[in-house]
């Protein structure tokens, strides 16, 4: 499996890109080139130099440091949102599959359809309009949007598993639906969940950037990639580096996570891999 992973180009590139940003976020806890809380107005909008490899923003803050600390915000929001989505979506999906066709199934799946029908940004705007803009509310908004994704995926996969012989055997042995779901169904959908989790993770980063861009995500002074883009907007002709670098950070992270998701799917599902070769 390890060798297969190493020969999978998308997985290697994706993993490398993702690790760079996770690494940058971790390093930022102990060291950044320049403190992002202190402003240095005299040195504003400087182009990249040795002292500031990616230049400075309109308040004279070091953009590399901002991106490193901003990675923390993006990753934290996206991870927690995926955890919320999985934590609620997977049990709902398992329950719906276990009681296929029942009222419970109907309620869960139609509820999911309802959430799914709303654009995620609209949900986020509704939540922040009621509770005020903050990173926490962004997490909740993105997390809610993740629930139906995981619920549907889990239910779909679990339904086919419920017809398998070993599940039948477990039922004959007298195991209840909860135990079967936990012992036989869940372990067999984990691969799928990991792949989907990676994709949702990258979507979470995009969603956080979008929310911060419109001012509904992390509030200043917490650095956020989306807000860095919003701040740079009117200065794009004066200091293009202020927009390019946070934009690149978002692009590369999302690209990396998507490649990684693709690679993992190839790895977990040998049939697709064979088809592709």
């Amino acid at each position: 499996m390890i060798r297969a992973a190493l020969t999978n180009r998308s997985l290697v590139i994706g993993l490398a890109l993702s690790l760079i940003f996770v690494g940058a976020a971790l390093v930022s806890f102990v060291w950044v080139p320049q403190d992002v809380a202190t402003l240095d107005i005299a040195n504003k909008m400087k182009t990249p130099s040795a002292a500031h490899p990616l230049g400075t923003d309109h308040f004279g803050r070091d953009i590399l440091s901002m991106i490193m600390v901003g990675a923390r915000t993006s990753i934290a929001v996206a991870v927690v949102a995926v955890v919320i989505g999985m934590g609620l979506g997977v049990p709902l999906g398992l329950a719906a599959a276990a009681r296929r066709g029942s009222l419970l199934d109907e309620v869960i799946m139609r509820g999911n359809d309802l959430v799914f029908a709303f654009p995620s940004l609209l949900i986020a705007i509704m939540i922040t309009a009621v509770f005020g803009p903050s990173a926490l509310n962004a997490i909740i908004a993105i997390g809610i949007f993740n629930i139906p994704v995981f619920a549907r995926l889990t239910r779909g996969a679990a339904l086919s598993l419920w017809t398998r012989d070993y599940v039948l055997a477990a039922r004959v042995a007298g195991k209840g639906a909860v135990r079967i779901s936990a012992e036989h169904i869940l372990p067999n959908v984990t691969n799928l969940l990991i792949v989907q989790g990676t994709i949702q993770f990258s979507l979470g980063i995009l969603a956080e950037a979008a929310l911060s861009y419109v001012g509904l995500g992390a509030q200043p002074p917490v650095p956020s990639w989306g807000r860095m883009l919003a701040d740079s907007q009117t200065m794009i002709s004066l200091a293009p580096h202020m927009a390019i670098f946070p934009g690149m950070a978002i692009l590369l992270t999302v690209l990396g996570l998507n490649l990684m998701g693709d690679g993992l799917r190839d790895l977990f599902d040998p049939r697709i891999r064979r088809d592709r070769r």
Binding site: A37, T38, L39, I41, A42, K44, H58, F59, G60, G132, P133, G215, Q219, P220, P221, Q233, T234, M235, S237, L238
Partner: protein
């Protein structure tokens, strides 16, 4: 050829010439203009709302008062051609211009003046600046062109008050629909309002005074700074009053297609402090706040250098202005010492609520960093104007906020203990009462200086800078106001150079 035929011939010949010059009209100056601005008025009645955007569109263009502001802030005759003031300073007799009509064709006479003033000062009046009319005890019509206003006590700024956009003359015939169809006496008539997009005004052919040089003007509302930049660059708008992105101005300045007008406004930009909320009810804390702020960094960082530091709530271009920035010089060490003295050696946490303009949003981030340096943590929340008005201005639920007070000569707001920053000082209120009664220029000047010093040394608010009037226009547009002595975009003298 009879006389009639001759004139007919002349007329058709003239028409032919006109038609010919019309076809070569490319060389002729344009007679229409599109003016961009950031905020759209909520409705079109300047006499019943505080929204400055209403005056930005209508003041001097559509509505006029007895007196009016000039581009330099001076008070000039408006609908009143002249006036006499009684020896004791309580009776003003205004002589109105003859032959003034409203845009609906009705005559503007002394009855309309009486109606407008009585309406504004009435018990149930919704005028946003009722204080302007508070001193009036009686308005009497002497004859159609003469109106007498009696004041309870002499008021040295009465003629100034009558120049405000809130004191324009309206007609009883058209008052019902004024919010959607404003009928005034100005050089332009209201034509059309496409909500969310633009307001059109057209030249009033029957104007009583110097007619407008433009035939048509459109106010286009563009709230997003990036879109504003693009609209000016693409020449979709010919002028942008109050350009929201100061960082783009050098770029316009370097472009020969545009002119950049940098003037002064009446906008004192302040770090408004809730004087009734702990710990800001402690003057030591407010003083610490004042010393923690580095004004120049805010002007450079938020306004890209445009703005004049102020140390009190008064416009620096006013002759009575006193430079009191020394009272609150940037000194973080002193700020820390004062906080310790006030019982907050480790600082405290408060809220900082910011309305949309860039001076507030960017200034807020800079101030938050400066306050953090002395131990004061701020929770920033960015609000839209409606939320700001509701939470901060009306609800008084805030610790700190940043806002620019753009009304002219508005130091009187400090005498109102219910005003949103809730400064309650009997001493200051007395200065203001004395000021209203004083008519002697020297005494007025002395009182104004005293008032400025009082609020500066009480550290009521953090005094940051005087907002600069930043406008961008096509290089060929002439006659725009450079300064903004009141909220206005006076187009009556604007024309296109050939």
């Amino acid at each position: 050829m009879t006389y009639l035929n001759f004139t007919r011939g002349m007329v058709s010949a003239l028409a032919l010439v006109a038609a010919m010059t019309g076809t070569v009209g490319m060389a002729q100056a344009k007679t229409d203009i599109v003016v961009g601005m950031q905020l759209e008025p909520p409705h079109l009645d300047p006499t019943s709302a505080a929204a400055g955007a209403i005056d930005s569109v209508l003041y001097a263009n559509v509505f006029e008062g007895l007196t009016r502001f000039g581009p330099d802030g001076s008070v000039n005759p408006g609908l009143a051609a002249s006036w006499d003031i009684s020896a004791d300073g309580t009776v003003y007799t205004f002589k109105l211009h003859d032959g003034v009509t409203f845009h609906d064709g009705t005559t503007m006479d002394a009855e309309d003046v009486k109606f407008s003033l009585d309406r504004a000062r009435a018990e149930d009046s919704v005028n946003a600046q009722k204080g302007l009319f508070a001193g009036i005890t009686d308005v009497t019509v002497i004859d159609p062109l003469t109106v007498q206003v009696t004041l309870g006590a002499p008021n040295g700024s009465f003629l100034f008050n009558m120049a405000w956009g809130d004191a324009v003359i309206v007609a009883p015939e058209s008052i019902e629909n004024i919010k959607t169809n404003p009928v005034g006496t100005g050089a332009f008539k209201f034509d059309n309002w496409v909500q969310g997009d633009r307001i059109d005004i057209v030249k009033n052919p029957d104007y009583w005074g110097e007619p407008a040089k433009l035939d048509r003007a459109t106010f286009k509302f563009i709230s997003d700074p990036t879109a504003a930049f693009a609209a000016v660059m693409a020449e979709d708008v010919h002028a942008f009053a109050g350009f929201p992105a100061p960082e783009n101005l050098p770029q316009f300045d370097a472009d020969p297609r545009f002119q950049v007008l940098i003037g002064s406004t009446e906008g004192e930009t302040i770090l408004s402090t809730n004087n009734k909320q702990a710990p800001f009810d402690n003057i030591k804390v407010r003083e610490a706040l004042a010393h923690a702020i580095d004004r120049q960094a805010i002007i450079d960082g938020a306004m890209f250098g445009y703005g004049t530091p102020i140390g009190t709530h008064f416009a620096p271009h006013n002759p009575d202005y006193v430079d009191l920035t020394g009272n609150s010089a940037y000194d973080p060490e002193k700020a820390k010492a004062l906080l310790a003295e006030a019982g907050f050696p480790d600082g405290f946490t408060t809220t900082l609520k910011l309305p949309p303009p860039s001076y507030a949003r960017r200034g807020g981030e800079i101030i938050a960093a400066q306050l953090r340096a002395v131990g004061i943590e701020t929770e920033i929340s960015n609000l839209e104007w409606a939320q700001w008005l509701e939470q901060v201005f009306t609800g008084k639920d805030f610790g700190l906020t940043i806002v620019s007070h753009t009304e002219p000569m508005d130091i009187g707001i400090y005498a109102n203990p219910d005003y949103y920053f809730q400064y309650d000082s009997a001493e200051f209120q007395k200065i203001m009462t004395d000021l209203t009664a004083a008519t002697d220029p020297a005494a007025r000047s002395a009182l104004l200086k005293q008032a400025q010093e009082k609020i500066s040394l009480d550290y009521v608010n953090g005094y940051l800078f005087q907002l600069a009037a930043l406008s961008v226009a096509n290089a060929k547009v002439m006659g725009l106001w450079k300064n903004a002595p009141t909220q206005a975009t006076d187009l009556t003298a604007v024309y296109w150079a050939d």
